[in-house]
Symmetry: C2
Subunit: 164 residues, 2 copies
């Protein structure tokens, strides 16, 4: 296995289409059963930032991801999640920055936790801002740093990788 990530990759997203998705945003403790967010038909965005990433890349990322024609409408035509209109679930997923080394994974290219949280929060906020101008698209998101307990129901995940 070779390292194929160009040094200039600043962020990585994996996109999956769903009929329904459910994500834990607060784990259960002694007093509660935990808290979940969920979306119906739409797109799950798994996201990870690399060292060197700044807020500058966020507008281009959000614009690209929300406008990519990845969602199958009732006629079988592919349209954007805006056009569907569908929903979006954003899942922080630092593991996407991993590189296999021997039998283990290393995460040396990942951005630090503080910067990662700031970039993730900025990405979510920008998606939510775009949503205000959208047509009935709901955006839900996971809690940065949490274990992302996820349940996914698809009619074909139609998995895509988009690096920035």
């Amino acid at each position: 296995m070779t390292e194929k990530t160009a040094p200039s990759t600043l962020a990585r997203t994996v996109l999956q289409q769903c009929l329904h998705a459910r994500l834990q945003v607060r784990p259960p403790d002694g007093e509660s059963e935990g808290e979940w967010v969920e979306i119906d038909r739409g797109m799950v965005i798994y996201i990870c930032f690399f060292k060197g990433a700044t807020e500058e890349i966020l507008p281009r990322m959000v614009s690209t991801l929300l406008n990519l024609k990845l969602c199958e409408n009732d006629s079988g035509k592919y349209v954007s999640v805006f056009e569907l209109p569908g929903n979006v679930l954003i899942v922080p997923q630092a593991t996407l920055g991993g590189k296999a080394k021997g039998k283990g994974m290393q995460y040396h290219s990942n951005v630090g936790k503080e910067d990662g949280l700031r970039l993730y929060s900025g990405f979510v906020a920008l998606c939510e801002k775009e949503l205000q101008t959208g047509r009935g698209v709901t955006i839900k998101h996971g809690t940065y740093g949490n274990r992302q307990v996820l349940q996914l129901d698809t009619n074909g995940p139609y998995t895509h990788l988009v690096d920035f």
Copy 2:
């Protein structure tokens, strides 16, 4: 967005951990409700081959993927799917070869369908062969060319990308 795939990438895999996963391998028709395969705890391997890929890369791919320490055991330690022991669900996913161009995705780097089927079948066969020497690992797989209707239940998908 820039094109970050090195020209030498021959295969792409995305790996997710699951508690349970269920994949349609024959769609429903007038006479039946369709056919599904399922696994309990283990790893989902989404796989795509690029132009230039040959059977030569399969042994290294299988060895790498089945031995990567990506599965959390009961003690919270990460071990391979062999060591867990867990199960493996292989999902053909040609969309992983896509590159964003404007608002659409292009798949010009993907291997042709015939070669893709041959490589996919070889990958599955090699995983199954490795399984015979393994300790209770079950391997299930999707039907190449089908829509991959998938249901996934995770305790954190722990999504990784491994290119070959």
